[in-house]
Symmetry: C2
Subunit: 336 residues, 2 copies
């Protein structure tokens, strides 16, 4: 029992103070020096709660830039808040780090996270940092607020509603495929700009939080597309007790995905069932469609009407240009 | 593109439905079939938010029983809510599982978790399940409620306040030491019941949620003891801008810890600086002490007055029976 009762600050405390305290400017985060955070919900508000983790070697590559890894971890959660119609209020971060991760990685990670804290007005409220013998594991629990009772569920779709998606579908899945097998990019004859577009879409989701209010005000059901459009639409239909028909030719594709598809028509399955789009899929009653489109235009989020909700409980049908139904080997991505 | 658009349910969906949906009976969990959960805070309430993860091989042993692993993961968070004076409202679970984990493990895990959901009235609200090439990693974000502005901070301790701890200190650290080096148990000449007591205290924390209201009503500052009494008291004092003096002879020990200490006096450092106690450390103004003790008695939580808060910013002093100050090699546990 020699030594130094004065060195109160552990290595973990030092890391938190250096890299994460600057991201925790919400008064309820208490500068990350207390055991827990406090959130005072606005009167009449519900809290929307979401947790999603990403794991090195599973959801991102070990050599991905640390700043985009941090942003992906937060954005996959922000995407859910957006699809539910909620405004971000803050998040908790549980970070498990292998010994191989040094301060340069942490500095880049916190810089990326800090940029998104600003961009999405979603402060870091608290969390913890742990050692792991496994890969970097980032667990985020994100919180949003909305007027009581107004969360947009998966279960509200009704026959006759139109089916709408934001942005473009399939880019991230093609970006991942290209990364796993670069010869694909050569076979698809993509320009380097097109290949880079797809790669970036896998690396860094662009959640549609700007559309949250429009979804809340006008959509009958919504979810974010994270496991592939086909499978996620199937889940939304199952939750709503309805069926759906999608005109595949209307599914919005980026120029890069369109070029890849032109070179290899079989890619339509990757596009429609691959994951990581982080676009919003929602159903809108036809009498709300004009208002929804106007709100989306005001929010500068591109939206495309791709089909309609139908009565029945048959799985959603994806109808090709030839009028025939597409059949997929699998409907969506699952790690299990 | 052959096959079966009808098999909408992925392996992950099936696992969640089988093992976790039964734990998600809160209406805002939507049976785990939506993307997010909803919590409607009681009028006038603050939400207290806490995230803490446990990692296989770091915070528990790979062969620990899955039911107690689940309970430890939840209870380390419940312990923080208790120390802050909050009533549990629910939690989100991010579970990363290696391929080696089978359904028997998951069944035991969810049974243990379900028992605590009942015992602590803390429903599962949502979460996600992922594959990992690393060890089992369980990240929990837990939420509590309390009247607005009433969270008990670390920073409210004032000179003259008494310092109180619940239960007994050091058991879990001795249990871990015994597990890592079983010859210690022989050297300490413990009965098998005493050794088992220490082992259980490491395996399964007993958070003091029954004391939360008493802490909220009477304590000037509080935190849970998770990284060792000495270091955690140092953090509380630093946050409050005060010093403290502890009479080591008053620190409450279990019979098992007392027996070990009698056999090996040097264990006092393990007892006072080892982690995983999950007791509450709080400071109580002297004019609230009688009320606090009465409330603790009513809550059936043993509490012990171990010292007092003092002016100054010197590190807390631990004074032995001989009147001399104990010096520790390190103040608390840190993985970094």
């Amino acid at each position: 029992m020699i030594a130094d009762n004065a060195s109160r600050e552990s290595g973990e405390d030092r890391l938190i103070a250096k890299y994460f305290r600057p991201l925790a400017r919400h008064p309820g985060a208490f500068g990350l020096v207390d055991d827990a955070a406090v959130l005072t919900p606005p009167p009449g508000a519900d809290l929307v709660l979401k947790a999603d983790a990403i794991v090195g070697g599973v959801h991102f590559f070990a050599d991905d830039p640390a700043d985009t890894v941090a942003q992906k971890a937060l954005r996959v959660n922000l995407s859910d808040l957006a699809a539910k119609g909620a405004t971000p209020a803050g998040f908790l971060l549980s970070l498990a780090l292998p010994a191989s991760v040094g301060e340069a990685w942490l500095a880049a990670f916190s810089a990326g996270l800090g940029a998104d804290v600003e961009q999405y007005a979603c402060p870091l409220l608290g969390g913890d940092t742990d050692r792991t013998p496994g890969p970097v594991t980032i667990s985020i629990a994100a919180f949003g607020t909305l007027p009581q009772g107004s969360m947009v569920r998966r279960s509200g779709a009704r026959a006759g509603d139109r089916i709408v998606v934001t942005g473009s579908i399939g880019d991230a899945a093609l970006g991942l495929a290209a990364r796993l097998a670069p010869e694909g990019v050569r076979r698809w004859k993509l320009t380097s700009a097109a290949a880079e577009h797809l790669t970036q879409r896998y690396l860094l989701p662009q959640p549609r939080n700007a559309l949250a209010e429009a979804v809340r005000l006008h959509a009958s059901a919504a979810m974010d597309v994270s496991d592939g459009l086909a499978g996620d639409l199937g889940k939304l239909c199952a939750a709503s007790g309805v069926s759906a028909e999608i005109e595949v030719a209307r599914v919005p594709l980026s120029a890069a995905a369109g070029a890849a598809l032109a070179g290899e028509p079989e890619l339509i399955e990757t596009i429609l069932t691959g994951g990581d789009d982080y676009e919003i899929l929602c159903t809108v009653p036809s009498d709300r469609l004009a208002s929804f489109h106007a709100a989306a235009t005001a929010a500068k989020v591109p939206v495309t009407d791709i089909g309609c909700v139908q009565a029945g409980t048959a799985p959603p049908r994806f109808i090709g240009r030839d009028g025939k139904m597409l059949l997929f080997k699998r409907m969506s991505f699952s790690h299990f």
